[in-house]
Amino acid sequence: MKHVTKKPLKQEQRWQTKISGGNFVDKFHAYRNLHAHALFSSLGRLVASRFSSAMTIVVLAIAISLASGFYILVANLQQLAGNLEASNQISLFLKDDISEGKASGFANTIRKNPDIQDVKLITKEQALAEFQAYSGFGEAVKTLEKNPLPIVIQVWPKKSLENEQALKALLDDFGRMAEVDFAQMDMQWVKRLQSIMEVARRGVTLLSLLLGAGVLFITANTIRLELHNRRDEVVIAKLVGATNGFIHRPFLYSGFWIGFFSGIAAWFIVTTIMLILKQPVENLSRLYDGAFHVLFLGFTETLALLFISSVLGVVGSWIVLHFQLRQLKPE
């Protein structure tokens, strides 16, 4: 400041409000104050009307947990299908009249095939023992007079043999051999399972979209009611110079809180259900090769869940504000 004016400030000048202008720091503080105000006042109102807030949040949480529950279910099934995919093996069930000696010779011939990686012979006794151990029919099997199981040769084609047609041709060749009763490629039902999974995954996507739309409109309706209840406040705020941003902000934050808390509640619902299912599923898994473990919502998935529900809440309230607040003039 070069020169301080000698004339004292006129009173009216001192009275003038700082309507605009101010330096950057002031503006930043004002902006931060406005946001903090909206954030906490909307949270405060949510707490103040805890009964209706809780009901809305529970309804939303159920919708969100349905979507994310199906998602995690499919993810678990997919893990199961993924485990199976590793073994694109062929099982040859030999005819009943083939002796064990013949079978082992037959296995050795197969081993010489350049397309074949590995061959394993499972004798009738081995098959029966395995069946007794894993099927849970142990005692019943002991009462059988004659071992009903066939000799099985498991064949692993070379990894280079990825071509589906080549695999199919190989399978057909095996099927025509005199010793073989019938040949089965484990790939086939894995493939079938995978296409079922694909359907399920699409189903989850569609279901999520549908439930997401539901969440959107439930939030929108909640915010509409809130807007209706606080009509006077909105009108008065506009009369004393509130910008649309100031009016919108608390409602957007309300939408955010509703979505966010619904997301948290949905997470708890899904996790509780998974915890309840965990033990029986692990038991079942142990009966087979134990490679399957229950998948829970992971860190990224949890973040995504909370993010998506919060965004739905904000968008839902934005829709209402966009269409309803325009009509709300001070008069």
Partner: protein, 218 residues
């Protein structure tokens, strides 16, 4: 400060409510607006706060043509005008403090600044100590003073009041008018619509009279 230049206002339903109204209020002036019921007083005041826009002519506030103001500028215009209403327009579920603080919160003032200014404003209207009360437990005169505190808390250059004493007894009305005079003395422009002729005549200020939408004396 405030200039009306050949302003006409037409409501589709009610026809011409204001016709060729022209006047000029100087900065720091205090003026009354009178006229029969339905003369157009409230409508005229609404033009100042851009609650309505005039159909012809122009309204200038601080040199700014309010007709040309964009919607997003309107809030900033309203911050220059302290509005006071006959029915006070207070938020019943908020304390006196929160009601008065509203314009400051809207303008984004920090907690301490809000608190300081609200107290100063309540002190001016003689309501310091009632900050924690709710409007419903206050008398009409006290509620109107809360309304006035809210209108001046942001230190606007112009205060516009529509029938501020309409619901008050003569003694309280005189008290409120005296309060407005105090604000005028610190340089605020005051514009009050009222049909309380006896009260207006006691006070020595400019009087604008509307008759069927036309200004008959100024």
């Amino acid at each position: 400060m405030l200039k009306f230049d050949n302003v006409s206002m037409r409501y589709p339903e009610a026809g011409d409510v204001l016709r060729n109204v022209s006047f000029h209020l100087e900065r720091g002036e205090m003026a009354f607006l009178t006229g029969h019921s339905g003369a157009g007083k409230s409508t005229l005041l609404k033009l100042i706060a851009v609650i309505e826009r005039c159909s012809r002519g122009q309204v200038l506030l601080d040199g700014q043509n309010l007709n040309l103001a964009k919607d997003r500028q309107v809030p900033y215009i309203r911050r220059k005008v302290g509005l006071i209403f006959q029915d006070y327009k207070l938020l019943q579920d908020r304390t006196v403090f929160d009601n008065v603080a509203l314009p400051l919160v809207i303008a984004g003032y920090g907690h301490h600044e809000v608190s300081r200014r609200v107290r100063a404003s309540l002190d001016k209207v003689g309501l310091l100590g009632k900050e924690r009360k709710y409007p419903a437990v206050l008398s009409g005169g006290e509620q109107q003073r809360v309304g006035i505190a809210r209108a001046v808390v942001n230190k606007p250059p112009l205060i516009v009041a529509d029938e501020p004493t309409g619901n008050l007894d003569p003694e309280l009305s005189a008290e409120i008018m005296h309060l407005f005079e105090q604000f005028q003395q610190v340089g605020v422009t005051i514009f009050i619509a009222s049909h309380d002729i006896s009260l207006i005549s006691q006070m020595n200020h400019r009087v604008l009279k509307l008759d069927h939408g036309q200004l008959v004396t100024s």
